[in-house]
C-alpha cells in the first residue's frame, strides 16, 4: 500500500450499459471514491487501443465498462470487439512490463448500479496496492518488471517463455 497515494482512474463507459450503470449508482446514492473520471463512448467497440494507452499514460488505471456478453450489446457485437481488443492489449502490456491489472474490463448493465460502485471501489483499492503509474522516470515496480522481461527476452533469443 502506498501511503497518501490517491489513484487517478479514467473510465470509458459505453452509453447504453456502463454509463447508465454509473448513473444508476448515482440515482441509488451509492458511494465510491472520487478517483474515477469518465468519458461516455457510444460503444465498447468504439474504444481503441491507442485511446486506452493514452488514458493510461495520464492516469494510474483505466476502467472500461460495456454491455454484458453475449447479447446485451446495443450494436450486436461491440462488446466482443471490445473484449478481443482489451485481451490483446493486456497481453501487450504484459510484454511491455506493465501490470495488465491496470486496465480493467467489466460488463455492467444499466440496472447494475451496485456493481458499478463495487467495481470502482475494488479497482481503486487494487490500484492503490499497485502504486502510481508513469512512463517518465516515475519509478514503479512495473518499470522494473519491464526491464526484467526485456532481459529474459534477450537471453532466450527473442522467444518468450513464461
Amino acid at each position: 500500500m502506498h501511503i497518501g497515494f490517491e489513484p487517478r482512474i479514467i473510465g470509458f463507459l459505453c452509453q447504453w450499459c456502463g454509463y447508465q450503470g454509473a448513473d444508476m449508482a448515482g440515482t441509488s446514492r451509492l458511494k465510491y471514491p472520487p478517483s474515477i473520471v469518465s468519458i461516455r463512448v457510444p460503444c465498447g467497440g468504439r474504444i481503441e487501443t491507442k485511446q486506452v494507452l493514452e488514458a493510461l499514460s495520464k492516469s494510474d488505471g483505466v476502467l472500461i465498462a460495456g454491455c454484458h456478453t453475449p447479447n446485451d450489446c446495443h450494436y450486436v457485437s461491440g462488446n466482443f470487439k471490445c473484449l478481443k481488443r482489451v485481451t490483446l492489449l493486456k497481453e501487450f502490456l504484459r510484454h511491455m512490463g506493465i501490470n495488465p491489472a491496470r486496465v480493467r474490463l467489466e460488463w455492467i448493465s444499466a440496472t447494475e448500479g451496485r456493481k458499478f460502485a463495487r467495481v470502482v471501489r475494488e479497482f481503486t483499492d487494487e490500484i492503490k496496492e499497485l502504486g502510481p503509474f508513469g512512463f517518465n522516470g516515475k519509478s514503479s515496480q512495473e518499470i522494473e518488471t519491464k526491464q526484467d522481461s526485456k532481459l529474459s527476452l534477450k537471453e532466450m533469443g527473442g522467444r518468450e517463455n513464461e
Partner: protein, 663 residues
C-alpha cells in the same frame, strides 16, 4: 507545461462557450462548490460566460441560457447538471431555440456521476471542474449536425395477445394504423381469459375481455397471427424488419364452423392448459368457447397421427363437413416491415415444484391461485362451485397462502403486487358460494395498493369473516384426506397448526420463460428480476432502450389489470407519436470516411453490424441512414480514414487531457 501551451495554441479560438452550472436544489450544491466550478471554468480560453443557478432545467434557468447566447453571441453551451440521459434533449432544444445547432450543446454529468456518489466536497468539486472542462473540450470540436430524415413504415407490431397486447393493438388500430398482433398460443386473451371475476369491483373477467377479443378479430386494421413467434428483428425506429414463424394449426379457421364433431370422435385426451390441468381436452380442441380466432386446432404432440392408418378420424368427410381439417398445413415464415413494436409478453406463474415444503406438485388439494380461479369460474371445470380435485367434495375449510415465491430471497425477492388483493377476492367469492366456510389467509403484510383496494380488503375482512393470520407458512402436507398447515402467527407470537380441506398458493408472477431470448433479438434489456427494463422509471416508463420499441403489461413488472391496461394505452400513444410523423429523424452522429486516406481494405465492412458500409470505386462509403453510430469501423480502420461525427479521436484525446487536469 510546454505541451499544455501547445494544446492551447491548437485549440480553435473563434469558439465562445457559455457554461451553466446547476445546483439541482441541494442535490449538486451540497457536495459540489458550484461557485468554484464557475470560477475555474472561466479560466478556460474558450469560455466567455459562466454562471450557476438553482435549477437550470426550469423556465427561468432556460431563459438564462437564451439570454447569454444572445447577448454574448455564444457558439456553444455546456450545462453541468444531471445525466445527459435525463435532460440532454431538453437543453439541446433550448440551444436550438436560441439559434444554435443542437449539437453545440453538451452536458457535464456532475450529479449522478459526481455529487450523488461522493462525500468529500473538495474532491467532488475538483471532479466537477474536470468533467465540465472535458465537456467544453468536446463541444468546441463538435460539428454542427442536422438530423437525417427518413421515411417510416406506418404499421405497428404488437407481441403478445393478453389484455395488454389487445388494448395496445386496439388503440393503435382505432387511430387508423395497421397492426400485426402476434400471439404464441392458439388464442388471444392471455391470463385474463382464465379469471372468474376481477378485483376490486368484481366485474366478470369474460364480460370485459371477450368483447375486446372479438374487436381484435373483426378490426379491419388488425392482422392477428396466433401460434406465431418472432424469429428475428432487424432495423431501427420507423424501419423494423421482422420475421415471424407461424406454426400450423391443421384446422382452417375460415372453414371451421365450430360443430364439435371432431372433438367427439377424437380418441386422445390430455390435460387442458386453459383449465390449468384441472380438466381434460382432446388432441383436436378449441382452448375455450370464446377463443379468438374462433376455430379448433390440432395438438400435434398429442395427436395419434394424421393419416388413415394411425387415426385421422377427424378429417373424414362425414365428421368434418366443411373440410376444415388440413393435415398438410405447414409452418410459414411471414415477413413484416413495421415502424414501431409494442412488447406485451406477460407473465407466468412461478413453478410450485420449486417450493418443495408446500407440496403443490405432490398433493392434489394444494392448488395454485390460477387453478382456484378456474374452479371459481362458471365456465371452469367445476362450473363455478369449487370442489376438491382429490374427491370432488366441496371444501368447508380453506387456506390461502400469500407470497408463495415472492418476497423470499430463496425465490423472488420482489413483491408480486396482486396476490393480496386477489386472495381476498378468492375468499369473498368462496364465502358467497359456501356461506358456512372457514377461511384462513396467511400473509406477511397486506399490500393492497390500488384505487379502492384498501376498502375491498376491509370489506372481505368484515363480510367474509376471513381469519387473517400474519405469518409465513413453513410446511404443508396432506394426511388422511386433510391438508395440514404449519406456520407461525407473528402477532400472537405462537406456532400455528391447522387442518383444512384445501390450500391455495398465491404464486409469484415471473417473466415469460423465453423473454430473455426475445429481448436479445430486439436488443432491449431485462432487469435483475428478469422483467423488461424501461428506459427511465419516470421520464420514459413505457419505452425500452431501443427507440421505437415500447413495453406494456406484466412483461415489464408484476401488475394488475388496471395498471396493465393503462400502460398498454400509454405504449400505444407513444407508438402513435411515431406513426403519425411524416419522417423519422435518424441520428446524424454517424461514421464518415476520408477517401484520401482509405486504402479500400474492407475491414470496416467486415465489422459493421448493419451492412452500412460499401466499397465504391475501391473506397469505403457509409450509407448514413443504416449507420447507427457505434464506431466499430472507426476503431478497426488501420488507416485512420474513418471517424465518428462528434466523437473523433481528437475529441477523445482532448477530453482525456481535461479529465486529468492538463487543460
Amino acid at each position: 507545461m510546454e505541451s499544455a501551451l501547445a494544446a492551447h495554441r491548437e485549440r480553435p479560438t473563434k469558439e465562445k462557450i457559455g457554461v451553466f452550472v446547476c445546483h439541482c436544489g441541494r442535490n449538486i450544491a451540497t457536495t459540489v462548490d458550484t461557485k468554484r466550478v464557475v470560477e475555474e471554468i472561466l479560466k478556460h480560453p474558450a469560455v466567455v460566460h459562466a454562471e450557476d443557478y438553482d435549477y437550470v432545467c426550469s423556465s427561468p434557468g432556460q431563459e438564462l441560457i437564451e439570454k447569454a447566447v444572445k447577448e454574448k453571441r455564444l457558439t456553444g453551451v455546456i450545462v453541468a447538471a444531471c445525466s445527459p440521459s435525463l435532460h440532454e434533449t431538453t437543453f439541446r432544444e433550448v440551444a436550438e431555440r436560441t439559434g444554435l445547432n443542437p449539437y453545440k450543446c453538451e452536458i457535464a454529468n456532475i450529479r449522478e456521476q459526481d455529487s450523488w456518489v461522493h462525500e468529500d466536497k473538495e474532491k467532488a468539486t475538483e471532479k466537477a471542474i474536470k468533467l465540465t472542462k472535458s465537456a467544453v473540450e468536446k463541444v468546441i470540436r463538435n460539428e454542427e449536425l442536422e438530423p437525417i430524415k427518413v421515411g417510416l413504415y406506418r404499421k405497428a407490431l404488437v407481441i403478445g395477445g393478453g389484455i395488454a397486447g389487445i388494448r395496445a393493438a386496439l388503440d393503435i388500430a382505432d387511430a387508423g394504423f395497421p397492426v400485426v398482433l402476434v400471439e404464441k398460443g392458439p388464442t388471444i386473451g392471455g391470463h385474463m381469459a382464465k379469471l372468474a371475476e376481477t378485483f376490486p369491483t368484481l366485474d366478470c373477467a369474460s364480460c370485459i375481455l371477450t368483447p375486446l377479443m372479438s374487436g381484435v378479430a373483426h378490426h379491419p386494421n388488425i392482422t392477428l397471427l396466433t401460434l406465431s413467434e418472432i424469429m428475428d428483428v432487424e432495423g431501427y425506429l420507423g424501419n423494423f424488419h421482422v420475421r415471424i414463424k407461424k406454426n400450423p394449426r391443421y384446422v382452417d379457421p375460415e372453414k371451421c364452423n365450430l360443430c364439435n364433431d371432431c372433438v367427439d370422435i377424437c380418441p386422445v385426451t390430455v390435460s387442458s392448459e386453459f383449465d390449468e390441468g384441472l380438466s381434460l381436452r382432446k388432441a383436436i380442441y378449441i382452448p375455450f368457447p370464446q377463443a379468438v380466432p374462433s376455430s379448433y386446432l390440432i395438438d400435434l404432440d398429442a395427436c395419434l397421427g394424421m393419416n388413415p392408418i394411425t387415426c385421422g378420424k377427424c378429417a373424414e368427410p362425414d365428421i368434418c363437413g366443411p373440410e376444415a381439417v388440413n393435415f398438410d398445413d405447414q409452418a410459414e415464415i411471414i415477413e413484416e416491415d413495421v415502424g414501431v413494436i409494442v412488447v406485451a409478453t406477460g407473465y407466468e406463474l412461478y413453478n410450485p415444484a420449486n417450493i418443495g415444503e408446500y407440496g403443490a406438485d405432490k398433493y392434489p388439494d394444494v392448488i395454485t391461485s390460477l387453478q382456484f380461479e378456474r374452479l371459481l369460474s362458471p365456465s371452469g371445470p367445476a362450473l363455478g362451485i369449487p370442489k376438491r380435485p382429490s374427491d370432488e367434495k366441496i371444501p368447508k375449510r380453506i387456506a390461502f397462502i400469500h407470497c408463495v415465491g415472492s418476497r423470499d430471497e430463496r425465490h423472488q425477492p420482489y413483491c408480486s403486487h396482486i396476490c393480496c388483493t386477489y386472495s381476498a377476492k378468492h375468499a369473498l367469492l368462496f364465502k358467497e358460494l359456501v356461506p358456512d366456510a372457514d377461511i384462513y389467509s396467511f400473509y406477511i403484510d397486506i399490500r393492497a395498493v390500488g384505487k379502492n383496494y384498501e376498502d375491498f380488503i376491509r370489506r372481505v375482512q368484515e363480510e367474509a369473516g376471513v381469519h387473517y393470520i400474519r405469518g409465513k407458512v413453513s410446511r404443508i402436507y396432506e394426511q388422511d384426506g386433510k391438508v395440514k398447515i404449519f406456520g407461525v402467527d407473528t402477532l400472537l407470537n405462537k406456532r400455528i397448526e391447522i387442518e383444512v380441506d384445501m390450500a391455495v398458493l398465491a404464486l409469484s408472477m415471473v417473466p415469460a420463460h423465453d423473454i430473455e431470448d426475445l429481448a436479445s433479438k430486439m436488443r432491449i434489456q431485462i432487469d435483475g428480476s428478469g422483467f423488461l427494463q424501461e428506459l427511465h422509471p419516470k421520464l420514459h416508463p413505457v419505452e425500452s432502450a431501443t427507440s421505437g420499441i415500447f413495453l406494456a403489461g406484466a412483461a415489464q413488472s408484476p401488475k394488475d389489470i388496471q395498471d396493465t391496461v393503462a400502460q398498454a394505452s400509454a405504449a400505444a400513444s407513444k407508438a402513435l407519436g411515431v406513426l403519425t410523423q411524416e419522417k423519422i429523424s435518424h441520428i446524424p452522429t454517424v461514421a464518415t470516411v476520408d477517401t484520401d486516406l482509405c486504402s479500400g481494405c474492407r475491414l470496416c465492412i467486415s465489422v459493421c453490424p448493419y451492412g452500412a458500409i460499401k466499397l465504391v470505386d475501391e473506397k469505403a462509403e457509409v450509407k448514413e441512414i443504416l449507420c447507427e453510430g457505434c464506431g466499430a469501423c472507426v476503431s478497426t480502420c488501420p488507416s485512420d480514414a474513418i471517424s465518428l461525427r462528434n466523437h473523433t479521436d481528437e475529441q477523445v484525446s482532448s477530453m482525456l487531457k481535461a479529465l486529468v487536469g492538463e487543460i
